[in-house]
Symmetry: D3
Subunit: 135 residues, 6 copies
């Protein structure tokens, strides 16, 4: 299995609901350094998993919709705890949808699975991984 | 699959038995930077894999039992080579037992597997991963 | 010259005033991974620069006063842009004051200078360094 | 499952064919920081996955055949795009062959799979992983 | 003293002249992860050292003139060993010239010194630092 | 000012004397990832600060005299606390002596200062820096 990974980041504000979160129930924020792994069984005719340039641009676009924002005020996240693990899945779903729509080109439809990791500090991170419907 | 990872470290002395270890047969030591990954299929009702605060405290407690010690003199390791891979499994077993006993709360019993990685230098690490009996 | 460095982090929300900040004028946030370097010319009688345990606790205490907070609402920062470089100086001043008051012990008064670095992502950081009045 | 990982690096020149590569069609180069993960279900009688010293030497030998070279002029790569993912597989195949031939000793034949990761910058990496025929 | 640092990278091919370079006399290449530190005594009226967005763009532009190139064929480097330390100075000189010309704005003319670091692998880096003529 | 840095590591056991060290008074150990920075004002005729290959070998030789050892039993350290900052100076002194004796070649005598950093974990490090008598 081949994997290619690209990295970018976003800086957001949010707060959490639930006693389990302790002081993180207050408005605070995070830098998320985001790694996206694209996986497929065989390389395409150029010898690549995905066009790494387009993959980086797509990641930037998806993070751009959340970057420099207070996630508590975003319609998509109303009433949700935007935990690191939840956001990992959000980025996963948006990437999968974009690949499905062809934003990384026809060849990228052979990507079988993605793993999205959000590093929130030097001592903690979360990820979501799953298969994507090739179509 | 969701993963959450927390990091801590311990500093120990030990020696190894067996010609394969060369100079590491002498008394020496290591800093192990320890990453523990907790994995489960669905988030709990708070939108998390585990309570990251409690997970960090549990890891600190488990490493605390080995930290600043000469492992050659610990009863649990008598006659064993406390290699990086062996210690990764030791931390895994102790974490699995603690989760089973409820130290991370009822919700954490949905954690399906753990991966424990010990980084011994900038050029080498070892890990042990496995399922844990939910029960 | 000897240096000892300890690391911790904080997660905050804030917004900036001024066209130069572009989208960072909106409410957003950051994880700051904070490194504090303590410098002195000679080691003390124990062979150390500072008691690394106490230094870590002091850093945690100072970051704790900002951690999980919206800095726009903190009285100390009213009307200020809490940029990474500004916050580096804030941490510097508070550490210098604590050392002066003896919170790291009498020996730590021999520390001549500090450097405080705040890493805001994998591609950007800021620091403030200066001498501290021994006295 | 146990994993042991060793790290080394190589510095090569190459160029790519295909419009998808944009400016990387020109002669350029890369430092690849290479991580090799060795995986097996049980430790050997010494309590290890592989002899980490020999594993490191083998990796150095395999990278040495490419290090400080222009890959466009290497017979093995004639007419191929030596992309990061392609080179990850190349290192994988050469390691698997060497293990099969016994270069890591008899015990290392119990290694079930390998993962080879080439980090090309602070924001991109690729890997190839697969089972190796124990035999 | 305040410092702000931004990071980017470039991927180049080159070869060296001189027995001291051993196998690096052959055509090979490198990824240079480049950190630029901007230093000044006081923050500007916005509370910053430089506009980090413009600083990142300027760095990208300067590295872009070398990125994905064989430095042996660049007129500027004819007959020179483009060692890591030499390239650190090259980036320094070009940045200093750009700041002098106002590309980072009028306020950035208060920057007193720069440090440019090129990381060529996980085990080696080089830097050049110096004052820049404010003017 | 030019700087070149090389990295290696050592794994040692030791114990400390003095109540300030708390649990570190027990026999324990550490991995020290060691960075050595060589600084000089002008490059030599090859365009380098030092021969990075020879610098790496010298560092390996100096660390080799401590690696895989219990420092409490080394004659050189009898009755001393081999703290991270103390060991940073030890490596500094041995490197300076070797450069003085010509082990890095005649050109390396132009190196003006060294900085030796020992990273003991992901959250703590110490260094010693100083001028070296050229001549």
């Amino acid at each position: 299995m081949y994997t290619v990974c690209v990295r970018d980041h976003m800086m957001i504000a949010h707060s959490f609901s639930g006693a389990v979160f302790g002081p993180a129930q207050r408005m605070h924020g995070a830098t998320y350094v985001v790694d996206v792994e694209f996986r497929r069984r065989e390389l395409d005719e150029n010898g690549i998993v995905v066009d790494i340039g387009r993959a980086g641009e797509l990641l930037r676009e998806i993070l751009g919709a959340m970057n420099y924002r207070n996630l508590d005020e975003e319609a998509d996240f109303r009433g949700r705890n935007t935990t690191t693990e939840f956001l990992a899945r959000t980025v996963f779903e948006r990437l999968a949808q974009s690949i499905h729509e062809g934003q990384l080109g026809a060849s990228a439809r052979a990507v079988e699975s993605l793993r999205v990791t959000l590093r929130e500090s030097h001592v903690a991170w979360a990820s979501f991984e799953g298969e994507i419907s090739a179509q």
